[in-house]
């Protein structure tokens, strides 16, 4: 028991004295999260620049009305030519030209290059004109629309989505990139042989090593969560304790896989490479950094079979949507089966020298 306990403590110290592994364990996930978050996670703050040309009381009334549309940012233009030039340069989504006081149509010009924004602006304008006409005719509207935003308890922001993916990735990396390197390196440098030359039970040593991965992962995840919440304003809807339990389960599974890999590839380089070969496809396919629905339909059965997928899905359900584990037990069972298989392979083939 003392051998196990001291292995955890000493291996923990050993790990935290290594700057390289701290980079990969903590800084890298945070950098990745910051980069992906800022690149893809921009908030939907739609503003449509509208150029307005027109004078007179009628034009003034329309202008004031348009300025009240929340997403419109109305700029007055001196004449139609200047307004169209601005539109062509991409500075406007829509240009509205009022008819001279004599009458005629209200002309709207939109940028065909900015299809979605211009069409949205056009739609709003059409609806605005229709409303204005209706008011002018004095007929009371037969139908009224009242809209209310219906969402989950709160809006899901991209960082909230991204954070559990990053956490699952960190857990996976510790096993497929960390254990593969560390164990083969200990074997190559005869550290494992040195341990074996004592009467210690292998289970006490290896158990201590696995436990230190669980502990360091919990510490790393806590730091990542703290920074994600503090700096990126990510929100965790579910239980932190449940997340911690998932992190421990994930650690056991991927450390088991790392140990299994270290029995197949004998050098640190080749074991690490084999780990990466499993690591990267899962990172990109399993919905870690973006929804896995983005991946082609034909790949979905494969994606569902990957061990990272149930971990990401469950961690995201807990973290982003605040769910409990009850609905995810089959997924967790599948994940555990991977872990058991990996440990059996590792136990069967493990060599100390």
């Amino acid at each position: 028991m003392r051998a196990f306990f001291l292995t955890v403590v000493m291996m923990f110290r050993h790990y935290f004295r290594d700057r390289t592994s701290l980079f990969w364990g903590m800084l890298f996930p945070l950098i990745l999260m910051g980069l992906i978050g800022t690149a893809f996670g921009r908030e939907a703050d739609l503003t449509l620049p509208v150029g307005f040309v027109g004078a007179g009381p009628m034009a003034e009334g329309i202008r004031r009305g348009l300025a009240e549309v929340p997403v419109f940012e109305v700029t007055d233009e001196t004449d139609a030519d200047a307004a169209l030039a601005a539109l062509r340069q991409g500075e406007r989504a829509l240009v509205v030209v009022m008819p001279p006081s004599g009458g005629g149509p209200v002309r709207a010009y939109f940028d065909q290059g900015r299809g979605l924004e211009s069409r949205t602006a056009l739609l709003i304008l059409e609806r605005f004109i229709a409303e204005a006409n209706l008011r002018a005719s004095g007929v009371p509207p037969a139908l009224r629309l009242e809209s209310a935003g219906v969402a989950a308890a709160r809006e899901l922001r991209f960082f909230d989505f991204l954070l559990p993916g990053i956490l699952a990735m960190t857990v996976m990396n510790s096993g497929l990139q960390g254990v593969t390197w560390v164990v083969t390196e200990y074997r190559q440098r005869l550290v494992l042989k040195r341990v074996l030359a004592t009467p210690v039970r292998p289970a006490a040593f290896l158990g201590g090593l696995v436990t230190r991965y669980a502990v360091t992962n919990l510490v790393q995840l806590a730091v990542i969560i703290a920074i994600a919440v503090g700096v990126f304003h990510a929100v965790i809807a579910g239980s932190l304790l449940t997340l911690a339990a998932l992190a421990v389960l994930g650690t056991l599974v991927f450390v088991g896989m790392g140990l299994a890999i270290s029995t197949v590839s004998r050098t640190p380089e080749s074991a690490n490479l084999l780990g990466s070969l499993l690591n990267f496809p899962m990172l990109f396919l399993s919905g870690t950094l973006w929804p896995r629905e983005f991946m082609p339909q034909t790949l979905q059965p494969l994606i569902s079979a990957l061990p990272l997928t149930p971990l990401v899905d469950t961690m995201r359900a807990v973290s982003a949507r605040g769910e409990s584990l009850a609905a995810h037990l089959p997924a967790l069972g599948y994940l555990t089966a991977w872990g058991v298989a990996a440990f059996l392979l590792a136990a069967w083939r493990f060599e100390w020298e």
Partner: protein
């Protein structure tokens, strides 16, 4: 060497790697309290033999009993009562010297104060230093300190001074002699004949997986290398060296003559006479005692280190 039972008994040990037989029917007994050396060139089977005794390798034949425990039956029990220093064993590089000893003591089921041991192995100023920062000699002393954490009656040292500079080597010899002084048995392998001669009470000479001779270093030299070598550097003249009294063999190399003599006193006397009469001029005469190197050459037909 009393009639006390041996502390290590090795009988008919065999190890095969595929078609190669690394250790062929090796048998010997190590007495309590002696420094027992296994001397041989690289690849002779020394480490394999040692690791089978330590229970780290399973022999393909033969038995080993250490301190009354059969290694095959209870390898963990044997590991508990021996101290093992492995050749080139690695440690956790970012743990300190003190942490390393605390950890390995725990692997022996012990809780020790590592400081006296650190002091003893002359690592006091490195107590809080990480293993990665240690020099070769310091690392080797740490390796031996780890072998001592369980206060073992038998200590196995596998090439303890390989790679060390002469001063560090001599320093380690003193420490190892100290283990014998406190009643421990030391079994070491080496390919330095000087180390075996200076340090060991008895030496087993090993070559190609077999023990070719086993005795005290002096006795081995007496038995297998009676000749003393007398070297003279000639400046002029000449003589029929082979005809000089006691001379058994003559090797002439440039201006230096090496005479193997069974009676060095007589040979030197004759040489001095020739020098005095002017038949022969030499400005240097050296007498070299036979060493284990000569024993090895005599027994195996090749040198210890080629």
């Amino acid at each position: 060497m009393s009639s006390a039972p041996p502390i290590v008994t090795v009988t008919g040990l065999v190890k095969r790697y595929g078609v190669l037989t690394a250790v062929k029917q090796v048998s010997f007994a190590v007495l309590r309290g002696e420094i027992f050396g296994i001397l041989g060139p690289n690849g002779a089977g020394k480490t394999t033999t040692l690791e089978m005794i330590e229970g780290l390798r399973r022999p393909d034949g033969g038995t080993v009993v250490v301190d009354g425990v059969d290694v095959a039956a209870d390898p963990r029990g044997v590991r508990g009562r021996i101290g093992v220093q492995l050749q080139e064993a690695g440690f956790f590089e970012r743990l300190t010297v003190e942490e390393t000893l605390t950890l390995f003591a725990a692997y022996h089921g012990r809780s020790i104060d590592p400081r006296p041991l650190i002091e003893r192995m002359q690592l006091a100023d490195k107590r809080g230093a990480r293993v990665i920062t240690l020099s070769g000699g310091q690392r080797q002393r740490l390796s031996i300190a780890v072998a001592l954490v369980n206060d073992p009656p038998v200590l196995f040292l596998d090439e303890p001074t390989t790679g060390l500079d002469p001063q560090a080597r001599r320093n380690l010899w003193d420490l190892i002699a100290g283990f014998r002084a406190e009643g421990r048995t030391v079994i070491l392998t080496t390919h330095y004949m000087e180390e075996a001669e200076r340090l060991c009470d008895r030496v087993a000479i090993m070559d190609h997986g077999r023990i070719v001779a086993l005795d005290a270093p002096r006795a081995l030299i007496r038995a297998h290398a009676r000749a003393t070598t007398i070297r003279v550097t000639l400046t002029g003249g000449g003589a029929d060296f082979a005809a000089l009294p006691g001379v058994m063999d003559v090797v002439q190399d440039d201006g230096e003559i090496a005479l193997a003599s069974g009676d060095p006193m007589q040979t030197v006397h004759a040489l001095m006479d020739l020098n005095r009469t002017g038949t022969l001029h030499f400005h240097q005469l050296r007498i070299e005692e036979a060493t284990l190197e000569d024993v090895f050459l005599h027994l195996t037909g090749h040198r210890l280190r080629e």
